[in-house]
Amino acid sequence: MTARVLPANLGQLERELAYYRRECNDLGARLLRLQEEQSQAFREARRSRTVAKLIREAYRLADADSTPEGIGMPMLEMIVENTLCDGAALLSLDPALGPGYFRATHAIGPLGAESMPPVCIPSPPSFFFTTSRTLIEPPAYELTGILRLPYVLWAFDRSSGHAVIIGNQSESNVSRPFESGDQELIEGALSVYIDVLLRKRAEVELRAAKAAAERASNARSRFLATLTHELRTPLNAIIGYSEMMAPASPYQLTLANRQEYAEQILGAGRHLLALIDGILDYSSIESALPSLNPEWLPAERILAEVASMAAGAGHRRGVEVEILPTEPQLELFVDPLRFRQVLHNLLGNAVKFSRDGATVRIGAERSGDTVVLTVRDTGIGMRAEDIPRALEPFQQIDSTLARSFGGAGLGLPIAMGLAEAHGATLAVDSVPDQGTTVTVSLPRERVRFAGAG
């Protein structure tokens, strides 16, 4: 038996069905919206956790054995992974390129940092983002050009000159376009990066200072040992010969003996004086750079004077000092005494470490707006790895060799200290058994050409 549906009941059923359909769809719509709101809340919470994650990871990086430059890439990876952007870069202002010029230091995305040309942003904003409604005009034009992505989020820290940018190809990347609420995220990421970078740099500087202090301490210890030896040798000669010449001496000395011993004592005394002069010179540089009294002097004259002083020492061993042709109008703004000492020390070393009969050359030539003075020998030279030590005070590259040539190893450090006091840079180029070339580059403000206005 089948139930018959009366037309009146059919109408009722249709109304009921329509009611339930409507209610079903309304409830479904409400459920859909609730679900989406909840999802969006979770997505935003996930996004906001980015900075917290960065902080945690950044301190791990800071504690790790990485360089300041080495933390950029892992930081950028974290930013990319958490924002799920298509590209990102860390940039820094580069004053060498001009005002407003940024250079990418690290990048992820279509272009690597090395492929990114410097970008000029005359008035870089501290925070910026683009959407499909953003007009392509400064700074949007410049910022979207960095990653070559149309939708970007940017933060710039004026005090440190660092910036970060992330970018997307599609506006609704993963869940939504960039918006003003992202300021906290991008500025937070940049702050974490800068904090860790500065901390890392301070750490590196601290380590370098510690290493330098340890080197200095070691050098002083070595110096004391060397100094003791250097002082003892002439003192022993003075005391020994003096005892032999004393009235109560058991030695029966001839007049010739006495003359010879007196000369030995005089020589040892002079050597001691030279040593002490060197130590005093260096001490005066280290404690306070000497106050210079510069004046304009012809370069030719300076070279001639120092060459003449060195020629005497060279003459005994047949070492010739040659002055290379110098522009007669060239004048240097230097302290006459101290700058001569620079060249005298360099030339003295060159003569000392040259083989008998060799030629040592000294010259001064223009290099752009500056002048480079050169002292070149063809002597024993030194290994490249020994050059930094030779420039440090109290260092003996090869104590046996150095002793055989005499001196306390202060000539080069003194020359460098005095050159730097003139704003010059001193560089050493050397090859074992081929010789050494030392250059002193004077800055443009200490150089002029007489008659050139």
């Binding site: 359909r21 079903c24 769809n25 409830l27 479904g28 719509a29 459920l31 859909l32 919206r33 679900q35 989406e36 909840q38 999802s39 969006q40 809340a41 979770f42 997505r43 996930r46 890439m73 950028l76 990876e77 990319v80 992974e81 958490n82 799920l84 298509d86 992820i108 995305g109 499909s132 997307n168 190809q169 599609s170 506006e171 609704s172 990347n173 993963v174 869940s175 939504r176 376009p177």
Partner: protein, 400 residues
Amino acid sequence: MIAVGYAKHSDPVVAVRRCIAAMGSGTPQMLIAFCGGKLEPQAVLAELRRAYGATPVFGGSAAGAIGRDGFGYGGFELGLIAFMTPSTTPTALVTRNLLPDERIAGQMLGTEVRRIAADNAVVLMLFDSVASTAPLRLHHASSIVEGFHAGFGTGAVCLLGGGLLTDMNLTGGWVFDGEGVVKHAAVALVFPPEITAETVIMHGCRPVSTFMEITRIEGADVYELDGRPALTVIERMLGLPLGGSRGQELSLVATLGQKQGDPFAPYDENAYVNRLILRAEPDTGAVTLFEPDFARGTQVQIMSRDNSLMLESVRRGVAAMNATIAGGEPLLGLYIDCAGRGSARSGAPIEEAELVVKGLGRAVPLLGFYSGVEIAPFAGGQSRPLDWTGVLTVLRRRRQ
């Protein structure tokens, strides 16, 4: 033996080396690589060749990768599967002709697979999902799979697979085809007869509307539902307009689902084939689906993604898989996971991939990737492309 490796690093060389270190010694017969979209594929390939010489590499880009040691979808992930012995190594067949006609390319691939595959052979199909970006067009898995079945014929086959993406934004995709890096290609990896697969499909959508009939459709563009513009119907459901860029966000919110079997049977997540919405077209009132396999007259429901349901489904699915493979000797666990299920996109409070990683028996070497579409045997029938699913497969030796 099958070894797996997972690593995450912005330097592809480092990523490859870490994967290789995780896999241990030995030279594989074949590699499958799932490569995050921010890793340079040629650099990955070069490093693999440096390590393994001429070992062929298949696979391609992935929106992310999943391993025992981690997972992610930032673009720096690399997952490797190394087939170390001939008895587990699949035979690879490739078509590079998806661009002119996906169905024909799929058919040719199906025909070739038929020639070498045993009955009930396991076949893993991988292809690049994005055909073009401006305008955005996908390589439709439904066309490829339909062509594959047409070419394969009536024999039984366990077809699994996934669409390869470079990221969650459908920016691109590419394929390792055994020789190099290519686009518009599909790879079919046909496993030896002694390999069998256990598969569970994990869902996460719930119907939130009554049944509606598609009254106008062209390809993947659904113009009308119950005689009204499809976009208007969905906008009313959402309570917000979806014009302009917001149309892109639609794929995050709703899908269209087709219920299989008795339409009035109680809700069963396994009964639904879901189609994600690729974009909205305010000018025409249409919504474009990921696949063009719905037709005029198809009864559909608007489906809401439900994160709780998704997580429950994963827990259930993993438990079922553990029960199925208990006592056996699993060779490989492969998880093909819709990229939209990642919490960055779904908004799920926890990552569902993590539930798989932690839940699946530790004896199973596991590797997964985030995909654009998933392919798996559906409702006891032929394989179909699926959206918003996680397909978990465990390969085992077939019992004699």
